[in-house]
């Protein structure tokens, strides 16, 4: 049986005729309702634009204070880094590393990988590691947890509001911007299209 006209559902392995939905509509598995394909308008260009925006927001979000508090006249600012550093100094290094990975390093890696992949695809340039980048992007995506961190900030602020005066910092606005950029990035990146384009660039035939 030639594999070219078929695809398999990732969640239940049902063999399906290849579905090519129009932009704006979706293809679901008839058996387990898994979302198979959701094509996006200008996926490559939007991914490129959003990853540049994300890269610009990364620096203020990382280095400007997110929240500041005043207790008994003493002021203190918190950035993404101070949390990690304080945990590290308290010898809580497993937690410090986890927070560092999920709130600083992996969001950064994801944006850089998106930029590399979409930049190459936009200019129709081949690269030896193009497939590796997309592979790692897909695997590291779920470990970047900006939105959970944002909820953490809200809960921490509520807890602190009883005992201290809070000031929202500029970094927080950049952080929320980064959060939305990241969410849009994830939803605009069309995995099918990207893999297909990479296959075309490599002169390979991509089935599914």
């Amino acid at each position: 049986m030639p594999a070219a006209h078929f695809s398999a559902c990732p969640d239940c392995d049902l063999l399906l005729n290849r579905a090519l939905p129009q932009i704006g509509s979706t293809a679901h598995c008839p058996r387990c309702a898994c979302l198979l394909h959701r094509p996006r308008t200008d996926s490559v260009q939007r991914t490129l634009a959003l990853s540049i925006a994300g890269l610009l927001l990364l620096f203020p979000a990382n280095f400007l204070p997110l929240v500041g508090i005043t207790v008994l006249g003493q002021e203190k600012d918190g950035t993404l880094w101070t949390g990690v550093m304080t945990l590290f100094n308290e010898h809580q290094w497993p937690v410090a590393i986890l927070v560092f990975l999920s709130s600083i390093l992996l969001p950064f890696t994801n944006i850089v990988l998106s930029l590399l992949v979409s930049g190459h695809l936009h200019h129709n340039r081949r690269h030896r590691y193009l497939a590796h980048w997309l592979y790692w992007l897909q695997h590291l995506e779920e470990w970047a947890m900006l939105e959970v961190y944002c909820l953490g900030i809200i809960v921490a602020c509520v807890k602190l509001s009883a005992m201290a005066d809070l000031q929202l910092g500029l970094g927080l606005y950049a952080f929320v911007g980064l959060l939305f950029t990241n969410a849009l990035l994830t939803s605009n990146l069309d995995g099918h299209l990207f893999w297909q384009s990479i296959a075309q660039l490599n002169g390979q035939h991509y089935e599914n």
Binding site: A33, G83, E90, V95, A131
Partner: protein
Amino acid sequence: MKTDTALAQGLVRCHSCGCLGKRNKQPAKCPLCASPLHGRLPHSVQKTLAYLLSAYALYIPANIFPIMTVTKLGSAEPHTIIGGIIALINSDMLPIALLVLVASILVPLLKLIGISLLLLYVQRGWTGDAYRWTVMYRIISFVGRWSMLDIFMISILVALVDMGSISEVLAGPAATAFAAVVVLTMLAAKSFDPRLIWDNQNQP
């Protein structure tokens, strides 16, 4: 086995890029993305079980030991996860208390139970409504990350509230255990192959 799955037709879907290839006797690599090709995730049940048991073991210290110590004007007060929620309720912050309750108590517990049930389903060859079990698996994979809420909150608190004996928040031993539970349950969900649920269904 019924013949409607790709595997039954001798085809294998790449886990990373989704391309469909012929199944070979030898372990093969995907021609496009070079990740190894398998019909099902290798040793899925064993790996999931290993992560799950470690998560169960760490769930106990995560809830017994203090997750943070709050010092106010010289008096240090250790908080467990549940203690933190009770403190929130006592200070009339019920919505936030509910949020923390869901993220740090209910989600990890339901995840542990859910993954255990999924493993039982696959191992025991149950043939209940496979669609419902798949939906449960999807919910488990989706909500896992939200349990990190408590860990992030602590990382913000320790950075901000750091004024020696006047007021200080220190992370406690349960923080490491709790973070490990979250990561281990996420790994357990990731190493579980939902297609095993449907393979059960297809057995005569």
